[in-house]
């Protein structure tokens, strides 16, 4: 089973696909997290009533298959609006918003976990809202939110397998391309699955460890 026609070039090709998976993931997680923090803080700050429109929009991103989001966004931007942008940009844009939708919930949960009395204590020492947010809320909320955030980031990495639909050649797609040429589907899929697993598994375990450790304090 392991005698394979896979050559060094193919490995580089696969590595490029894996690189694309990681790049798309990194960009989306970065912008998604930034947006998620903004949305999450906003939702917490203005209360459920004023945040309702935002809540609805974010909810939509969590209620529609990512594949359809990608197809729709691509069709909308390029066909309907007639703007020429690359599939890569569409993929990163959609995945970022998708990430932000989940991240906002995590952020809100994290902020809510900081006892109100602690925030009052900070404010009554003369700390401004911003200083309270950066010095008290952020460090404490991070402890609560980080494990879920790690789970989210890994989820985005796995979901990025779907961006092939907008012509981005990521890991799973490069694997399929090689399968077409080499016709060794099982072996190549194993390699591909192992890649995801080897990245995801240790990080997921690390997240679990952090959760356990921090819930003890």
């Amino acid at each position: 089973m392991f005698d394979t026609a896979l050559n060094a070039n193919d490995l580089i090709f696969l590595a490029k696909g894996a690189g694309m998976t990681l790049v798309v993931t990194a960009i989306s997680v970065f912008f998604g997290t930034v947006l998620g923090i903004v949305f999450g803080v906003f939702r917490y700050q203005v209360g459920p009533w004023w945040a309702a429109p935002l809540t609805f929009v974010l909810d939509v991103f969590r209620s529609i298959p990512l594949l359809i989001q990608l197809v729709l966004a691509n069709a909308f931007v390029t066909t309907v609006l007639g703007i020429r942008i690359s599939g890569f940009t569409v993929a990163c844009g959609v995945l970022s918003l998708y990430t932000a939708a989940y991240c906002a919930e995590i952020v809100r949960g994290g902020i809510e976990s900081v006892p109100l009395t602690l925030r009052r204590a900070a404010r009554s020492l003369g700390l401004s809202w911003r200083q309270d947010m950066t010095n008290i809320v952020m460090p404490l909320a991070t402890r609560v939110a980080l494990p879920s955030w790690i789970g989210l980031a890994l989820g985005v990495m796995k979901d990025s397998a779907l961006v092939y639909i907008v012509q981005v050649v990521e890991l799973l797609k490069s694997t399929q391309i090689l399968i077409t040429r080499l016709q060794e589907p099982l072996f190549l899929l194993m390699v591909c699955g192992a890649f995801y697993f080897l990245i995801s598994f240790p990080i997921a375990r690390f997240g679990g460890y952090l959760e356990k450790r921090w819930s003890h304090d």
């Binding site: 006892p115 009395t117 602690l118 009052r120 204590a121 900070a122 404010r123 009554s124 020492l125 003369g126 700390l127 401004s128 200083q131 010095n135 008290i136 460090p139 404490l140 402890r143 304090d217």
Partner: protein
């Protein structure tokens, strides 16, 4: 001087403060006693502007707390406040807890802020706990740390809201001793407390709150010795 003039405050349809008038002079120690829900905590959080008020005025050294133009962050530096529980920032060491506000709010350089913090922590008897995280300390030590943290801002006034009521009985003493020490040093203080013995000993005046109204205010000997308000009489009977 803290001047409270006819202050009213409601949460929704619940009127919590029904026109409070009260003046606390420089150097005075005022204790507030009263049943649960009578509005004591609410009054304290109004004094340093954490809660808005519906009508009336609160002046601290002549500055109106709830005026639009007032810089609350600046005003709060004058008024230290310590709450019942959850006072310590759990992610910072004791020293860092106390240094935080001087550095971030007053912009004091690190070395100088540390000096101040060590001084105040020594003052409340925590000189040996500097590097410790609050979760590793007893409730009484955490409360004393919170006091040091407020003192590090060199406030002119200190507000204490039942700082001992979440503590195990054997830890209450050490915190009350710290308050006594502050009182003897001439700090202007408003203490909400259930410790009648402490109130009697330390206060210049004691105020009794009942259902959002300040029903009686008098020097402790008079208030405890010859209570006039019938609700106060009931209250004292129940607590003795």
């Amino acid at each position: 001087m803290i001047e409270i003039q006819n202050v009213r405050k409601s949460f929704g349809s619940l009127e919590v403060l029904k026109g409070i008038d009260l003046t606390v002079a420089k150097g005075e120690v005022l204790t507030i006693i009263g049943g649960s829900g009578s509005g004591k905590s609410t009054l304290l959080t109004c004094i340093n502007g954490l809660e808005p008020i519906d009508s009336g005025k609160i002046l601290v050294d002549g500055t109106e707390v709830h005026a639009k133009a007032t810089d609350l962050n600046k005003l709060r530096q004058k008024i230290g406040i310590v709450f019942q529980q959850w006072n310590a920032f759990p992610h910072l060491t004791v020293l860092e807890n106390v240094m935080l506000a001087p550095r971030k709010v007053l912009g004091i350089p690190k070395a100088r802020a540390e000096e101040i913090a060590v001084k105040q922590l020594t003052h409340v008897g925590l000189a040996d706990k500097l590097g410790v995280y609050p979760t590793r300390m007893s409730g009484g030590q955490q409360q004393r740390m919170a006091i040091a943290r407020a003192l590090a801002m060199s406030p002119d006034y200190m507000l204490f809201d039942e700082v001992t009521s979440a503590l195990d009985p054997q830890l209450v003493g050490e915190v009350l001793d710290t308050l006594r020490m502050l009182a003897s040093e001439g700090m202007t203080m408003i203490c909400v407390t259930h410790e009648m013995k402490f109130a009697r000993e330390v206060s210049d005046r004691v105020a009794f709150f009942h259902k959002g109204v300040m029903a009686e205010i008098a020097p402790p000997a008079e208030l405890f010795g010859a209570p006039k308000d019938p609700e106060l009489q009931k209250f004292l009977a129940a607590t003795h």
